[in-house]
Symmetry: C2
Subunit: 317 residues, 2 copies
């Protein structure tokens, strides 16, 4: 039976904004417009074979043990289907090293497609645990703050990393987000290495209080308070200097009425919040102009908070 | 008209549990059963005269510039009624140096009584700003995490200290709290001096994530998650050693099914949470036994989250 060609199953996993202000390493949200698509089918040979990667300008490894999607799938087979084999093709919709959870999205899409192909029916916790294994290859740490929202959708708080404890928060339906990726790259590993090992206790208290305020704002649907809470004095000061034009862009956005403006992940993608679609479009133009003026023109879009990774092609199990 | 004797107005302000787990310096709640009562009446002589203090074993200063209630009232007169005079009597219902917000409760009760006596009609923010001035005398820092819940009631997050930004959170109506004050004293100033100036970034992240979980749990009315979030790796490790028997008591409470057990304020008062009144009573007995075994027998009670400071005698304005 395994000799008959198996059907391809394609899944999509969204880009994510992580390190949401005071939520460094513990809070992220899923976008809708960008993401990676991965096709998976059962294969005769056990293990994982990555047969094609598109949209990465040849930068990603086909060796499954070095590829985030490959590593996540190998972990899935190891734990849940040790004798199975998978063939995989990856279509990157996300720019690499952008701070939008590119490495995580491939792993999440691959896992959701493979889960369907193998009929495993894994839950969110299990999928995120597997996707984290991919993150370990990508950035040296199995941080779940990108893969959790990419799998679950909406806004996700990682209340605890070990054991994994994810909390799905009320989705801010009326939030509009301008997302702009300047044309420079920031290595996640380098951005992480630049972080302070210790922080002042009072800054730590202020950060926790702001995260508390942010969670409260989500529950109350208070976008103004949500924006007010998006202040990061722990990592933004270090990372701002790695993104030419960031501080200018942030000041301009806030002056133009953004509810908040900060760095997504380790950057260079910069996001700005608004409660209004037209305002978000204006903020995107401001981001475009500021970064272009600093010689790092890139590209952007406006978006809203969206759902998690899902199968995007029949047949479903 | 000012020569006629003016009526006394009495106000009550509740004890508070502050430093709630991950909410060091930013989260507190009001209790119902213990508190300070302060009587205030208008006097002819301008300024503040403290004519009597009961229940303090003679330990509190009558000089208003050295007494938390006096300082708070002087600040009130300075800002809102510069020519007025107040006579004050204080009845301490709260043990001093217990970690239950004793210094703050006197200031809060005094302010609420004086607000009524002077007909000022101040709001919560204004009262908390004044009460903080009292805290500056008591512990060297104008921390609002005791006075905010004592004024506002319920559970209060201090989202920002300057400018003051308080968030009143959903009250956990079904929460029962065993509160035990061992017979030893911890100086707030000494407890604060023992704190680390800097903390590891990853501990800071875990702390913020737990506070986020706690706020989410309050909004969802999930007492189990609330308890799970009450973990403090920043200050408890330092302060636990200042309270004989604390670690034993905590272990025994958790083993007996407490949802959480931690230190209130800078201690030595220890609290344990339950979703059940009978269980809370059993936890109180456990606390009593553990601290007695360690030679620091004290006293305790079971309680629930309650309202804020209020006038407890007619006439109201």
């Amino acid at each position: 039976m395994k000799r008959r060609p198996q059907p391809w199953i394609e899944a999509f996993a969204p880009a994510t904004i992580s390190n949401l202000g005071p939520g460094f390493d513990c809070l992220g949200l899923a976008l809708t417009k960008l993401g990676d698509s991965v096709r998976v089918r059962r294969a005769i040979a056990p293990g994982v074979t990555i047969s094609a990667i598109e949209g990465d300008q040849g930068r990603l490894p086909h060796d499954p043990t070095a590829n985030t999607a490959g590593v996540a799938l190998l972990a899935m087979l190891d734990r849940y289907a040790p004798t199975a084999g998978l063939e995989v093709t990856i279509k990157k919709g996300l720019p690499l090293g952008s701070g939008l959870g590119s490495s995580g999205a491939s792993a999440c899409a691959a896992l959701v497609a493979a889960d369907a192909a193998l009929g495993l029916g894994l839950g969110h916790d299990q999928l995120v645990e597997l996707a984290r294994e991919g993150e370990r290859v990508a950035c040296g740490a199995a941080h779940p703050d990108n893969v959790a929202p990419s799998i679950v959708g909406g806004v996700v708080l990682i209340a605890s990393v070990a054991p994994l404890r994810m909390i799905s928060l009320p989705r801010p339906e009326k939030l509009w987000i301008a997302v702009y990726t300047p044309g420079c790259s920031v290595s996640t590993a380098a951005a992480r290495a630049a972080l302070p090992a210790r922080v002042p206790l009072d800054a730590c208290v202020r950060n926790a209080a702001r995260l508390g305020m942010l969670i409260d704002a989500l529950h109350r649907g208070d976008l103004a308070a949500l924006g007010e809470a998006i202040v990061d004095e722990l990592v933004e000061p270090v990372r701002a200097g790695m993104i030419p034009g960031y501080l200018d862009a942030k000041a301009a956005c806030l002056e133009a009425g953004a509810l908040a403006c900060s760095i997504s992940g380790s950057g260079p993608t910069t996001f700005a919040f608004s409660d209004d679609e037209a305002r978000a479009r204006a903020l995107l133009e401001i981001l475009e102009e500021c970064f272009t003026n600093h010689g790092v023109a890139g590209k952007g879009f406006i978006d809203q908070v969206g759902g998690g990774a899902r199968v995007s092609s029949a047949p479903l199990h």
